[in-house]
Symmetry: C2
Subunit: 499 residues, 2 copies
């Protein structure tokens, strides 16, 4: 993303020193010139420090210094132990291996940093946060639970706990899960450091390099990242306003023999769409027939503003045998709390616990104790009613404003819940061009590229309103409309208004 772009080498950076320069500087400039001239292609591997030192009979430290400065100037990426590679922006693989052919075209690893920066940039109206603001959330009630836990004495919370997490929290989760139609026992659950960790644990448990994974397209970048980090290959499942096509799933299973299906069925990130009940049932049945399990990422099903609640896949008959269910508490209850849980299919918990222990031993006991307290003591159903009333009104207001300002440029959908809207633009429009123009004009959002894992670039914007002040909706919409007006030619804006 932009962060990496700004680090790209200037062509003239290669000529700062002449023949009298120290050896390291001459080596540095020699390689910089080759890279700038395209003689060394993106991704090419440089000789190792030892090889080059031997070849030229110089000290390895000299070569190391040259390579270090090349890395600092953005010409190469140095990976200790695996070598130095000519730098390609947005192409840094998570584990030092070259990415697979149909791997990512963008860098979702960097997108979260970028979104965090934008959300805090002065003068920017940021439609980037898809979680509740601290004022709208139940963070104050949670803070009170923390205060109470601390004043009861710290001895209970300042020690090491088992990887599964505190029993009091796992017990307190049972009524919460029952509200979602999931009945289980505390010893089937494990506490995680947020929903992201649940996804990562399942991916590490099940996936090896080269394995195929059916993944909705577009998908949450955190899901793309866990697939990528495992070295697995995503198989796209088209996901839209009507969910997905079960026949396409069956065909993908036959053709690709995947090891896992990853899906975020309710108020999907980024589109906001939900999977209808018949497709949920069909997907669980397919998982049973084929033996391919499902990772269900369910970050915030409570954020429903209209329509009837849909059961998670895990709550459907047979779901307990094929569904890994994971979620966090940051997207609905307490932003940034970094606590969640994973409910694996029966028999698979111990393997997941071993990975949790390897990852970070345990999640912080104090936060776990406070969350258990929160779930036991507070009226979180009442909180959810207030939250949905507040954000439901915001969603309707923003939708009306954006529809008025932008309807000639694309199609805006109105999901039944969640804190995202999804603006689909005509395919000819480069969403990244819109993005960079918009940031300069003082309005920010996420582009579809960040949620994509195919060379094709869907043209859409995720407009998340969790943190945006409703007073800024009009101005934000007006800035975005201005940018679109300049990017879209008048003919195009008339002929392909809705895609």
């Amino acid at each position: 993303m932009a962060r990496k772009r700004q680090n790209r080498p200037r062509a003239n950076a290669a000529a700062e020193t002449g023949d009298n320069a120290p050896i390291y500087a001459r080596i540095r400039d020699e390689f910089a010139a080759k890279i700038a001239a395209g003689k060394l292609k993106d991704g090419a591997r440089l000789p190792t420090v030892r090889q080059l030192a031997k070849e030229r009979s110089i000290n390895p430290m000299t070569v190391a210094r040259a390579y270090r400065e090349l890395a600092e100037r953005g010409f190469i990426i140095a990976r200790a132990g695996s070598g130095s590679f000519v730098s390609r922006p947005g192409r840094a693989p998570a584990n030092g291996r070259a990415p697979a052919a149909d791997d990512l075209t963008l860098d979702p690893g960097g997108i979260s940093s970028r979104l965090f920066e934008l959300a805090r940039a002065p003068g920017v109206i940021a439609f980037t946060g898809n979680y509740p603001s601290v004022e709208m959330s139940d963070a104050a009630a949670f803070a009170q639970c923390l205060q109470d836990s601390l004043s009861r004495g710290a001895a209970e919370y300042f020690r090491y706990d088992p990887p599964a997490g505190r029993e009091e929290l796992r017990e307190a989760l049972l009524p919460f899960l029952a509200q979602h139609g999931i009945t289980t026992r505390a010893d089937n659950l494990m506490v995680t450091s947020g929903g992201q960790q649940g996804m990562d644990i399942v991916a590490r448990h099940l996936l090896a390099r080269g394995d195929r994974v059916i993944l909705e397209q577009p998908a949450y970048f955190g899901a793309i990242n866990v697939v990528r980090a495992a070295g697995a290959v995503p198989i796209p499942l088209r996901f839209g306003a009507n969910g997905f096509d079960l026949d396409e799933v069956a065909e993908a299973i036959r053709k690709h023999s995947p090891r896992l299906i990853i899906i975020n069925p309710t108020f999907q990130n980024p589109t906001g769409h939900s999977v209808p009940l018949n497709q949920r049932r069909g997907l669980v049945a397919l998982a049973h027939e084929s033996g391919v399990p499902i990772l269900e990422d369910d970050p915030g099903p409570e954020l429903r503003f209209r329509g009837v609640a849909l059961p998670p896949l895990r709550a459907l008959p047979g779901g307990d045998e094929v569904v890994y269910y994971t979620r966090g508490f940051g997207k609905t209850f307490i932003p940034g709390v970094r606590l969640g849980f994973l409910l694996p299919p029966r028999g698979d918990l111990n393997a997941c616990l071993e990975i949790k222990a390897t990852t970070d031993l345990q999640s912080p006991a104090l936060l776990q104790g406070a969350l258990a307290d929160y779930l036991r003591r507070t009226d979180w159903l009442g909180y959810l009613r207030r939250l949905c009333a507040g954000y439901g009104a915001r969603q309707e207001k923003l939708y009306a404003i954006l529809t008025g300002a932008l309807s000639s440029y694309g199609h805006l959908s109105l999901p039944d819940g969640g804190l995202n809207l999804w603006l689909e633009l005509p395919g000819e429009i480069n969403a990244r061009e819109v993005y960079f123009n918009a940031v300069r004009r003082g309005v920010a959002f996420a582009v579809a590229d960040s949620f994509s894992f195919r060379p094709e670039r869907p043209s859409a914007l995720r407009i998340a309103f969790g943190l945006t002040d409703p007073k800024d909706y009009e101005e934000g919409a007006s800035r975005l409309a201005h940018v679109l007006r300049n990017v879209v030619s008048p003919e195009r804006s008339l002929s392909s208004a809705v895609v």
Copy 2:
């Protein structure tokens, strides 16, 4: 470990039902009988649910239920998506693949759960906690910082942060690092969820399946776990009272072309031994010459009771180019806080940050804020002086008692710091036999097997005294001596008192 042993099938569990039993029960019992009789060997793969259902023209759910009950009874391990395997205790691979030939013989993934259980078992004198008790630690000061952070208002801490962690914490870490001779900048550092996560991130960044890693032997089980989870092959480096042999490292590099060296140089877990300065220098030089980087795990170098401080490898000249330095704050300052940091070599931070984002997005902002406050506001140097005085006296007392009670059974070393003692037993003694007898007698510790990754079983006990009440030292030593007396034959105890 014991947990898994207790789940082993009883041979007669296979015959609970007869010919009139439901189909699932007959299938279950058929396989249980084959496994009990050894007709299906450990590790053998069962037919898939679909295969077997088709073969016998029955419903896949029937087969699935039979397999589930076999898994619940410990006959098989069912891995959703990868199949069902005849169960071998302590052999569950982290990612569903068969372990490499010289992979682990024990199950370090389960050891931490077991140690936690023992530390809390009533009637057991547990020498299992190698971190300070809440009363000895600075948890109270940290709790005060947390209270203050909460009362200043929660808005700051209940939102999502960038993966690198809060800048205020990274800034507050600089004087802390300077105390250890490490000078760097805040933007070279990343916050982690404890030292374990730092190790795991480096392993995920650098290692692929089959890569070789030089790892001290014995080693902290958390280090063994990250190597194992990456599918890498550990190459043992003998580690003892005099550190290690640099020639052995050089030879291992030549012979195995490893991708990484992992070392815990100060008050090593489990032995308590430290690497002398000349070996530290030599290892950094070897890393430079060979291009093989070092992962330095440094959980608690402040816990020094005598002798002069040794610089971390990262602080030595050239260390910043080849050393990934990681540590947590749980082993010295605030038990269970699950915060630490990773300082990668220059140029490698972004790749590590991508993995952090994939793993858990970020560590909890509130805890980070409180730790920053703690490092800025409290007299943590004064705290460390008190901590070392307190635990130094405890170490001397325990050493004197254990030497008196156990010297005829083995060799006890007295490290310069840390909360472990290491009792080496004559090689003929099976440390696990000692362990199981000891737990029955009401005294617990960790056995060398848990810190080992080779088929050979070193015979030694890690006696950690962080949580043990000094009033229990005498009784604990007496119980352990009783067990050793029964396990060691009189001849053996006389002839090989010191090994």
